[in-house]
Amino acid sequence: MAEILFFSAVNGITYGMLLFLMASGLTVIFSMMGVLNLAHASFYMLGAFFGFEISRHLGFWPGLVLAPLIVAVIGMGVERYGLRTVHKHGHVAELLFTFGLTFVIQKLVEMVWGKLPVDYLVPPSLDFPAFTIFATEYPAFKLFGLLASIAIFLALMLVIKRTRIGLIVQAALTHPEMVGMLGHNVDRIFMLVFGVGVGLAAVAGVIAGPALVTQSNMAGLLGPILFVVVVVGGLGSLGGAFVASLLIGLVQTFAVAFNISLADVFGPVAADSGLALYLDDIWSVTVAQVAPVLPYLLLVLILIFRPRGLMGNRES
């Protein structure tokens, strides 16, 4: 039992930190521009595939640096030539634009790399067990992923809290017009922030790629969970996104670890009526099987009891 608890906790925190790498970029972009980038998970996927392609020719480490840079440049291009054009048509058009982008990016990835998972390997320098506990080895690469996400998180916090550009970004979050009045180029800040935000998502992709599965549906699988994170945390709140990322990471890994159903606890369904067939499904489903549903259930519950989200301060 202690083993399950320990590994679920470590895995949950690792997954949660990966989620936060993406949710932080998404949150900053949303707070500054008021547009929720639905294609955020697609940039994560692009990061993973670029990292894979570079790792085939140059190795994993160049990929970790180059792939996010390429994705950041693509992101800036999208902001400059796409989002800014759409901006004048209003928020719904912006959302729809990023929605269309998810579609196009997925199809492009399928066109180039196919629909099957690609063989993105853990780098040899990290392909060893980091430590052995309860007779189970914990891979060093996962530990690296956790440490890298924490390092990026700390660096991001330092930049936002301690540097001049961070100050301007913070100001632009709440008072974009005033920042513009003071002579800063708000458009360029937006473009940079968008680039950095999707670049962070790409870093998450390069780290998650070898650890999870690099496949053309990875954006579709992760995207909805990412949006659950930002809504549960409270739209536009970095602290909320952090708490919600860890919460959802832990909930999902812990749920997967438990193979218990209502039938195990209360015994099988006794009644033999026509309804029993449908009831039986609910009764015999295990916690592990419900795991994919839990984030969305959490979303609905949060919305009923706390519509602003955990730490949100704005209504919409």
Binding site: F30, L36, G82, T85, V86, H89, H91, V92, A93, L95, L96, F97, F99, G100, L101, F103, V104, K107, L108, E110, M111, V112, W113, G114, G220, P224, F227, V228, V230, V231, L235, L277, Y278, D280, D281, I282, V285, Q289, V290, P292, V293, P295, Y296, L297, L299, V300, L303, I304, P307, E315, S316
Partner: protein
């Protein structure tokens, strides 16, 4: 989305001049009914009849979506949930009544789907419509995921990965209609389509429909006037669920199978595509969109392996350059026709269209060649486009493609600017005369 949508936005109680005569009021619907009646005589092949069946279903679905996006300004990413649940409930009901036991004929079964859509619209709407804007979009996305993942768990009801099948000929038959032949199903769908379209149009003309528009345009002010915007959104959401459920019921009768993928994110995405490409600012827009997208879907999936990519690109360019969709572009020509200036501007449209098509050819060459190089490489690098055979790794085709795309694009942008100027000039000229 207000300048081109005068069918929707014209204030109530101000029909231009006197009250419209019965011919003006009912004429379009009678024409539509006659059109639906004769269509299977004109396009009588099996393929075109089953295509029209899908189109009819999708018209209802897209229009129901537009009750949210176009009429009330609610962007939902989970509308297929109601389509799917309506379809599943209809299918289950049909299976229960199979063998002609139930007294209900097949014609009324879509109503089962509609009721299911309404009930679930009420349930989910109570949660989702507490918020508007971006949060609403995210909640509907979450609800969509919630329902699809739950459907895979509840295998007894939703049939797991394979879904559930029905047999529409097993239902109690009246007037000797067995609904075995596809053309009978066509008339069933056409009938429900006509009824639903009229009902949804009628809703836009009621005070409730107007308040929906007001909530879309200025919720704060509506609140101030004394309406509860949440309640308005909630009613709109539930009604949209009702019509989506009818569409789902028709789909399960038409295909005789329901699958949990039919309420997933892909289906929700395709209804957004249909409504938006057709035009959300105009009542007829989603109808156009449903017809065009269904047709393109059929045609492109035969022509190219990566047809979905073209769809995505079409959608993005619509969002960027024609936010009012096809209907919006058509409505833009109306003032020109009224001023008798259309013929003066039309040559400029043709002038812009030709380089546009050239650029499109270049783009699709690049897409198809990349596809050939990466995925279909195992089948060899030789390929043909428009009857010309070439190798995907040769230099000449790539150069040709880049020149076509670059040259066509450059000329197209210039010609489009000319066309815009000509349009503006024609509008001014029309005003002076």
């Amino acid at each position: 989305m207000s300048d081109t949508s005068d069918t929707v936005v014209r204030p109530a109680g101000f029909p231009s001049g006197a009250a419209p005569g019965p011919l003006r009021r009912y004429g379009p619907w009678i024409v539509l009914a006659l059109l639906l009646l004769v269509l299977p005589r004109v396009f009588s092949s099996g393929l075109s009849i089953s295509t029209m069946c899908v189109m009819g279903t999708m018209i209802i679905f897209a229009l129901s979506y537009n009750m949210l996006l176009g009429q009330s300004g609610l962007l939902s990413f989970g509308h297929a949930v109601f389509f799917g649940l309506g379809g599943f409930l209809t299918a289950q009901m049909m299976n229960m009544m199979a063998g002609g036991e139930g007294p209900l004929p097949l014609m009324v079964y879509p109503l089962v789907g509609g009721l299911a859509g309404l009930v679930f619209g009420v349930i989910f709407g109570a949660v989702a419509t507490r918020r508007a804007g971006t949060a609403f979009a995210m909640i509907t996305l979450g609800i969509g995921e919630l329902v699809t993942s739950s459907a895979l768990i509840l295998r007894g009801f939703f049939g797991g990965e394979t879904g559930i099948t029905v047999d529409r000929t097993e239902i109690h038959q009246v007037f000797g209609l067995s609904f075995g032949p596809q053309v009978q199903v066509y008339y069933l769908i056409a009938g429900w389509c006509l009824v639903s379209v009229i009902a949804m149009y009628a809703i836009t003309r009621t005070p409730f429909g107007r308040i929906c528009n007001a909530v879309r345009d200025n919720p704060q002010r509506v609140n101030f006037v004394g309406y509860n915007t949440t309640v308005v959104r909630f009613i709109a959401f539930s009604l949209a669920g009702l019509f989506a459920g009818i569409a789902g019921g028709l789909a399960s009768i038409n295909f005789e199978i329901m699958n949990s993928a039919q309420m997933g994110a892909a289906e929700s995405g395709s209804v957004i595509l249909m409504a938006y490409i057709g035009g959300v600012g105009n009542f007829a827009g989603p109808i156009i969109g449903a017809i065009v997208v269904t047709y393109l879907h059929l045609m492109l999936s035969d022509l190219s392996d990566v047809w979905e990519l073209y769809f995505g690109l079409l959608f993005i360019s619509m969002v960027m350059y024609a936010p009012n969709g096809i209907a919006g572009v058509i409505m833009m020509q109306r003032p020109l026709i009224r001023r008798g200036q259309l013929l003066r501007v039309a040559p400029y449209y043709v002038l812009a269209l030709i380089p546009g098509l050239v650029a499109l050819a270049g783009l699709s060459m690049i897409i198809e060649m990349t596809h050939q190089l990466s995925i279909s490489a195992s089948e060899g690098l030789g390929m043909t486009m428009m009857g010309i055979a070439f190798n995907a790794d040769a230099l000449l085709p790539w150069l040709t493609a880049v020149v076509l795309l670059g040259g066509g694009g450059w000329l197209g942008v210039r010609a489009a600017r000319l066309a815009r100027e000509a349009y503006g000039a024609a509008m001014v000229r029309g005003r002076v005369q």
